[in-house]
Subunit: 675 residues, 3 copies
């Protein structure tokens, strides 16, 4: 959508010149030119500057800033500045301050500091968003609107408590339904009046990070909190749209960020944007998965890479430098997964407060003769040359991995059977097996059209929402391959167990009954013994954490447990339903087992790797108007060799490739089939 | 006492049908019959249901429930439902809510949530207990009354603070005595007015779990808190007794539960009952010790096993399944140590809130065709066949191990000499040495009659209360064998050090003077070098944690330290007093040393093992009217063999045994001497 | 200064007879005589006793105490008793209670419990200090005044918040300057009114121990808090001085105690005194460094060792006994580093509350026949014989190590680049290299005269205050050797980065530009590869944690990185400036590298070891009126041998030594050149 503004990948990032003088700003503009920077995100944290008191607004500095950027050929992503309220507001209207999970009223400080249900906050946030919209609606430099910044956190103040009760009334209609959903006859929690309900926090139902005595209440609070923040976003969004109907509005998301249900949020975003902060030890497959999640939020639409560091972070325990070439490599990884912008936090480093040791395009030294600036400029030049060829292209996938925020909340608040279960890790384990084989994956929601895929994988589908079991059954009946794993099909959307035998609504589809689930201590393992051979699988593999004890009810047993009193019980099953097949993995296997299993499932469906490459060489494919682009990325420090069928041109340097191709360490190739 | 109601071991558990519909309840009754279940604990958490507001009580559902159970042949253990107050009460009378150790007023939520000194809570708790007593006093199904549930927790609200001052006035009479007891001239804490005294918590004298700047204040708070909860129990107990003089009233205890002084509580219970929740890695000797503690609370009277899981817990980090046979094995272990009931939490699993992954007799699948239900039914059949033969039988012991809650509180609040000292672990180390030899032990209090025993062991008798030293001296003079260990005899009941040389009042009895105590770092060890041979002990053994540096004053040195600057000082001494002997172990030895030491002490007193069995095979002995029952329990997964003197019949299957006997893995035998 | 009172090293310690009866006190006096004790610190925690209510003061007990000590020949260090307020004061004037970093108002309890900005506290503290001064100003026994005790802690109450704003107005004059210093345009923190500023704590800018979103605010709070406590000290100091102009006033410091800027405090102390509590595993070099810091506070003036334990502490996790001889050894170590007193906490052990397991001269047993008392008496006799020979002697040093409290605060509050950086550990690493070679070191402040030294070492000089770079440049130009390390020269006194290239103001002096800083994970290492040989250094050494990537600008490269993408970049540089040289160590090396490096620097400047001794044998040198005293201390348990040039007499036993000298395990020799 923003591709109409400039026929190339936007390149730039966060820029806060209000922290410096005019001379520094002029120097910045010069260096933007040097680096090929054509977009700057401004006004992110300038609320206090824009509005020094209740009655006064002051945008002259911003006028000058935007004009000077425009004159320099730099477009503007204009933030609404509402991510941190001014100190005077906290002083005069304490209701804008949050109350934390321990019931402590906070004071002014930090950011993400506004109660999302504060009417004062909402009033002033909407007001300044409108003033900005009215002031800059016709400014040719402003091409994207950026509401607030990295929404997150939670609040437990009295206003939130009251709002929670209203939210519950809307959800349940009656206390009878609420009491049923929450099973309140347990521990005598029956509510007779809406006002008896209190927020679940460390003073009521919670303790520690993941412990609740009433998961149903906690789950609804998570929904409510996500909705409360979303409401803040929507209020600003609406007032900007009212003034600028064709505006492009976003807010920067954060990948696998637990607190906010981004599938719900994405519906309100004109374009998804996100901030990508992997560390030196983050698996590159994890970053790839996060990009795919962000792309999946709006069904495959390209997204903005809103922030990444050019070099170093400051908030990790150990903030390693990005090795030479890695900034470029990871920038292209974003593009390879659907990004149509490459943007940084930050264009110039601040000199005071907590982000002064976060990398920037322009470092504290202030000039262009740095490794970081050279790498940024080189990439700027390259992106300029790429032009618009990749813009708006999409990534076709035959595999969908199901991800669900509410499932995430529910499964990790569960009291029992194990504290070791981490939902995103389970998603990543299966994702990585596809990733390692260069098989493109979409991360999909329960609302997605499964029939667009050959294979749908749903690790730990603990919560089965209304209609999902039917959708999956239809998918399989129509020929699809479905795979799910242990501790699935347990609860409904209120975290109430579906009685009548696990995995509940999935029982028939999977053709199994799970009678019990054993939790293993961290040093305990069981074994998966394959019956004969299954694809490349044979012999035995380790498994652990949880072991479902199951009986087949129509499904075929492909592997059995090798140890303990449930030795011989099925651990991998396959059920034929209609034209398709439904698999169940009853424990948490070692990666080699998942690799072999998914290799076989893909082979059965004719889902083939984009390319066969050595370990560490990632491949994705974007397609636009029938033209395809193969991204080959070497995450190794050393060169690698792979085989190409046919002839290609590397768009980044014009080289012709074919047959045995070599890619340098940390290099990227964008291959277009030779005409 | 409850044995008069039914001539067999009661079998059943917690049952909360208020969470389901009538059809489910009918199905439950059918399955109770299948499983041989004849008792259900009901109404545990139904206060909000029974009393929807201040003025209204509603017991119709309970009438129907109890009637239907009665019609089904199921007896009722009737709870008073006061373990969690209703939400409306918290809303209307916030004084019922607790204030935590950080001074935070809690909101409605969880359970164990009522301030024990709230007059509102007490008023309504007594009122509902009385209404229940009046309503069901003549119901033939109701055979046990169950006050509240698992009393515990603490409160630091203003009402508790005021009550604490009153409690202190009663204890001390004058501020002079209190100032002396607490040694308040230390750090200028002198109190001139009762109202200057505040509760010791994280805002005043405490930090972390076990740290206090004034141990005397903390100790009194622990006493006060235990007494406050006990007062709640007693109020309910009194009002039930008033209405039903011959009622049997209990509350479910929790084994080694630190907060409540169960020896004091037990005096107010008509029968002791407790909840036994070992995990997969809990030593079976620890469970045995907990049973013996519960039996010891009322001087050996049989007790109720009120709760255990049929399969799995939910609140452990890793909730393993009980392996096949283990539920039966551990049920009989309870009986073997004095239980006259076998009861579960829970008869049917809830579908919502935090215990839905806790095992139950009737699982979420809802039918009887599960491993768990089969094992429960099989045990139910067996218990039915056993009839009343074991009921009211007792366990004769010649060894007493002294345990004292106030000592526990004091020793672990101590600032120095080491944080590594865990009182219950020390008790268990000595208990296990007897356990491993099948020598029956009573856990006794400082008020017990020591003369009933040949041997009394008191590990870490840090606090010596008034009269205890004399009682022990009389016991030894009369021929008894007494053993105590390092860091004993240090303080009086106010945690004031007894000056004049450690071990204070025990100095003369033990014939030693402890000059200093060295604390070892976790990786440091010393050695115990035995002088020649002592029983099977010879050579050297490791010791650590604390090392008393002592001088004998009449005692004989049996072993010396082997290392460090106190090499050659005594570490094991024996003092002859009258007809008996008093031993002192000056450090924390490795188990082999304790084994050899106690073997010798037993041999000297002619205290013999019930049977000699291989490791993992436990033996206890119950006796009734001259008839004896030997329980042989194989905790190993594989069969074991042991030798029998004489001929026996296994009551569980009628088999005759004698000479070399075999017991299957995880099997139990109840041996009666062949007539 | 106090040496005029008694021609010997004062020997004694804290004494609290208010916890016992008169008979015990008489017995204590007898034992003081036995032990050679001639000073007692009294009245430390007796405020509640002295002032039982607002209007009443009661000093009779103190009159009697001081008189009886005097009659016994025991001098008095008289404390003002204000380290813990009375319970009645907390009850009547809650403003004396502190509010903690979580915003929780504390209740009465513990010690260090008064808000330093409470006007009530200050009023009553000054009043009692004045009453004491007036009452005892002419008492011949009272020779030192001891204000409060171990000042420390912090407070976040409303009074402190208001006082902070006043403090800020005085520091900055205008909000513009404050906004600039704190860089408040970051995250929209601009302040428009002083009253908008709140204290930085866990409710505003902080979380955890070392995390802040605004380091500038946090830094100012640390200054303010140190100043607030200092103000309390000064108020008491002033009122005592007003009444007793020639009084000697101190308060006991605590070595490397982070919260208080002792360089600033020392200006207000007539003599420095401190409490030395090493544990069994504290490196002896660390204790030596702490003594040197305390001596450095007043430019080398001798100090008082106010507290040490004769045997054992109580507040460590594992409180080991001081091994035989260690109390004497560590007492002399204090003297060897500048102490002119040897004092203990405590003369008699309390029987109740949290210090009853802290060692004392008189133990709970109450008599003199203990190892501890024997060792104390032996040392008392020895100190008596030493007389005044050592008093007022000083320790000449040619090496200064720069230490700065504000740098400490700033560097550890830094967000990035690593959490592993511990300032004091870095100081200790370099200190230890000198210590191991018996090269005497002064710990100096940024205000010290660097020209008094041949070598100045300033590890991690992160914050460069105004004028310091010039002072260092002058020092080097004049021939001095300067060494600093990675992450230096980064910020100014407001924690604002000095732009234009690291290390900021030190860039020219060092002749380098640091372009980037890599943070290594704990398991990562790089290598320092020496170019050829440098002193005894050659080959390669490990380094880690942080690695500056630097370019020389005039400096010579002495060693390069051996690994990673910055292999070959300089890691050790030397810059010639005027007559001197400035070294930079760009990473955190293994100790062997630092040893070799400092050996070479010392050799170049002709700075020689006092003696060459085996590992574990420490040597220092005190000098008075041209007479020198060599302290030789053997920290090993076994005897050691070392070589002496010339003939000496051991003052402790009169032995003549020369040539090959032997020192027994844990022994001390004080060598005076034979005349």
């Amino acid at each position: 959508m923003i591709s109409s503004k400039l026929p190339k990948i936007f390149y730039g990032g966060d820029y806060n010149p209000e922290q410096w003088d005019a001379e520094t700003h002029r120097e910045d503009l010069r260096m933007f030119k040097l680096a090929g920077i054509d977009i700057a995100t401004v006004n992110v944290f300038a609320w206090a500057l824009n509005q020094p008191d209740e009655a006064t607004y002051n945008f002259e500095w911003l006028d000058e800033l935007i004009d000077s950027l425009h004159a320099n050929g730099t477009y503007v992503c204009l933030a609404t500045s509402t991510a941190a309220h001014p100190a005077w507001m906290a002083k005069r209207y304490p209701d804008v301050l949050r109350t934390d999970a321990d019931g402590r009223k906070r004071k002014f400080g930090g950011r993400h500091n506004s109660c999302p249900n504060s009417l004062t906050y909402r009033k002033y946030a909407v007001r300044i968003a409108e003033k900005l919209a009215q002031r800059y609606k016709d400014h040719p430099a402003v091409i994207v609107w950026h509401v607030s910044n990295e929404f997150g956190g939670d609040c437990y103040c009295d206003n939130c408590e009251k709002a929670f009760r209203v939210w519950l009334r809307e959800r349940y209609g009656s206390l009878d339904k609420l009491n049923h959903a929450w099973n309140t006859n347990f521990w005598g929690h029956t509510f007779y009046d809406w006002d008896e309900i209190v927020l679940p926090n460390n003073l009521s139902e919670h303790w520690g990070e993941n412990n609740s005595t009433f998961q149903g209440i906690s789950l609804d609070y998570s929904r409510f909190n996500s909705d409360s923040m979303l409401e803040c976003y929507k209020l600003e969004h609406a007032v900007i749209k009212k003034n600028i109907p064709d505006s492009v509005i976003t807010t920067n998301l954060m990948g696998f960020f637990k607190q906010l249900d981004y599938f719900k949020w994405a519906k309100e975003l004109d374009i998804v944007s996100w901030d990508n902060y992997p560390g030196l030890q983050t698996p590159v497959s994890y970053t790839a998965m996060a990009h795919d999640l962000m792309r999946g939020l709006k069904n495959g639409d390209p997204f903005m890479l809103m922030e990444q560091t050019p070099s170093q972070q400051n908030w990790q325990p150990y903030n390693s430098l990005k090795r030479p070439g890695v900034m470029r490599l990871w920038s292209y990884q974003a593009v390879a997964h659907g990004a149509d912008t490459v943007m940084f936090f930050q264009l110039r480093r601040s000199v005071g407060a907590c982000e002064k040791y976060h990398g920037a395009v322009i470092e504290h030294v202030g000039h262009e003769h740095t490794r970081v600036f050279r790498e940024v400029s080189e990439l700027g030049r390259e992106l300029g040359e790429l032009g618009d060829r990749l813009l708006d292209s999409r990534l076709p996938a035959k595999v969908g991995i199901l991800f669900d925020w509410e499932n995430w909340w529910a499964v990790e608040k569960s009291s029992g059977p194990t504290v070791a279960l981490n939902y995103v890790d389970q998603i990543h384990k299966y994702y990585k097996a596809f990733y390692d084989r260069n098989i493109q994956v979409d991360i999909v929601s329960v609302e997605s059209d499964f029939n667009a895929y050959d294979i749908v994988v749903a690790p730990v589908l603990y919560m089965v929402k209304p209609g999902v079991a039917d959708k999956l059954t239809n998918f399989v009946s129509g020929g699809g391959t479905f795979l799910t794993t242990f501790f699935s099909g347990i609860v409904d959307e209120s975290d109430r167990v579906k009685t009548g035998g696990y995995p509940g609504e999935l029982r028939k589809l999977l053709g199994i009954w799970v009678e019990e689930t054993d939790a293993l201590f961290p040093d305990m393992r069981n074994r998966i013994v394959v019956n004969g051979e299954f694809g490349s699988l044979s012999g035995s593999y380790e498994c652990g954490m949880l072991c479902d004890l199951l009986h087949t009810e129509g499904a075929e047993t492909l592997a059995e447990y090798g140890d303990d009193f449930y030795k011989g019980m099925p651990v991998l099953t396959r059920n034929a339903v209609g034209e398709g097949q439904a698999y169940y993995v009853a424990s948490d296997p070692e990666p080699a087992f998942i690799d072999g299993l998914l290799e076989r499932l893909c082979a059965d469906k004719g889902v083939l790797p984009l390319l066969n490459t050595p370990e560490g060489v990632e491949v994705t494919r974007r397609v636009k108007d029938g033209e395809e682009f193969l991204f080959v990325m070497n995450h190794n420090a050393d060169p690698s060799t792979y085989e190409l069928d046919g002839r290609y041109t590397n768009l980044l340097n014009g080289d012709a490739l074919g047959g045995s191709a070599v890619i340098a360490g940390r290099d990227v190739q964008i291959l277009s089939p030779a005409k």
